[in-house]
Symmetry: C2
Subunit: 207 residues, 2 copies
């Protein structure tokens, strides 16, 4: 499962389909269609069918998709049929919000540790129970724990150094919240969360 | 400028191109190419040329794109050649992080006001200077100020009510951080920021 030649842009849509299926399931729905998913997501039904066809035959002509079956398959394709430990760097407002984010656990992720550079923060316990660790121990801790995924929630001027440390210690997937373009080897995947990109997408439609 | 028939998926990539151009400009670069942009963004150069061709002729065969010119045009197309007031609801960790986010101002946005439901927060001054306002006054304040864009940074169980209030008061564009699917009329645009979607995109590539 999981053809390595699938365009990354297609891969990026799969988690959105998965989320939509989970919402539908929460509404006690059992069957959906590419048309319904498309209407909810603002994506054409043809695009959804084409995207999913990279991975197999999930729908039946005329009856649509069985939600639970497609959900299970997408979880497997995205490798979130298991639990991933994530290392979080930065315990400012954003880091604190992420450390207690309710949307991770049932979707494959667990914040395993939180690091910060501020001496007054190190040793403090967050509401979720994690104790903030010293960023100076980041490299050793990541290497020993074998964490592969990092979230960067530090200021822009510290982000590249943190990224390099994480990568040096074995992290191969980064979610970057800092408003800079990280430099990383091609073996490391970087996703960026940038609220301004979304706001600018919205203002396109405002006159 | 701004063909209304451009697919939304194309529109969604324009802010990413704009951000890449701004990064290049910060490196004192003057010219770039669809190839270089594509390499940086993990998008094919053909896709970038096709996306931009919806809006005009920005590059010259053989010489590429003049960064500042393309940047100016994208700003105009996305309507961020002006400053937009944004109303932020939720002054928890995430709301506080957004209220002081450095990546808004020079890209077209300003958090104009912050609202929260917690009596102990109302009246408090945030580091950036904004005073947290009572969410009970949200509808009146939005209507009077004429704000069109809202950011929802409240818990999932409060998000729909906040969205409905904002929409009722005239907001037509929402950026939603709550991990729920908002119900909104088709005249209202909704963007969702969901870190799990990005993490799942990353784990596709992990084994």
């Amino acid at each position: 499962m999981g053809d390595r030649q699938v365009p990354d842009i297609v891969v990026g849509r799969l988690p959105i389909y998965l989320r939509a299926l989970t919402f539908l399931k929460a509404d006690n729905r059992e069957i959906t269609s590419s048309q319904e998913l498309g209407d909810r997501l603002g994506i054409s039904s043809a695009q959804i069918r084409k995207d999913l066809s990279h991975f197999g035959e999930f729908g039946k002509q005329g009856t649509g998709y069985e939600i639970r079956y497609l959900e299970d398959n997408l979880r497997e394709i995205l490798h979130v049929d298991r639990m991933w430990d994530v290392v979080l760097v930065g315990a400012g407002d954003l880091g604190n919000a992420l450390a207690s984010y309710k949307g991770f656990a049932d979707r494959g992720f667990r914040v395993a540790a939180v690091f910060d550079a501020a001496p007054e923060k190190v040793g403090q316990k967050l509401p979720g129970g994690l104790v903030i660790e010293d960023v100076n121990t980041l490299e050793t801790r990541v290497r020993e724990a074998g964490w592969k995924i990092g979230i960067i929630a530090v200021p822009a001027d510290a982000a590249q150094k943190v990224a390099s440390t994480l990568i040096g210690a074995g992290v191969v997937a980064l979610l970057n919240y800092a408003p800079i373009s990280l430099i990383a080897p091609s073996t490391v995947r970087v996703e960026q969360i940038d609220p301004t990109v979304h706001l600018q997408h919205l203002t396109y439609y405002l006159g």
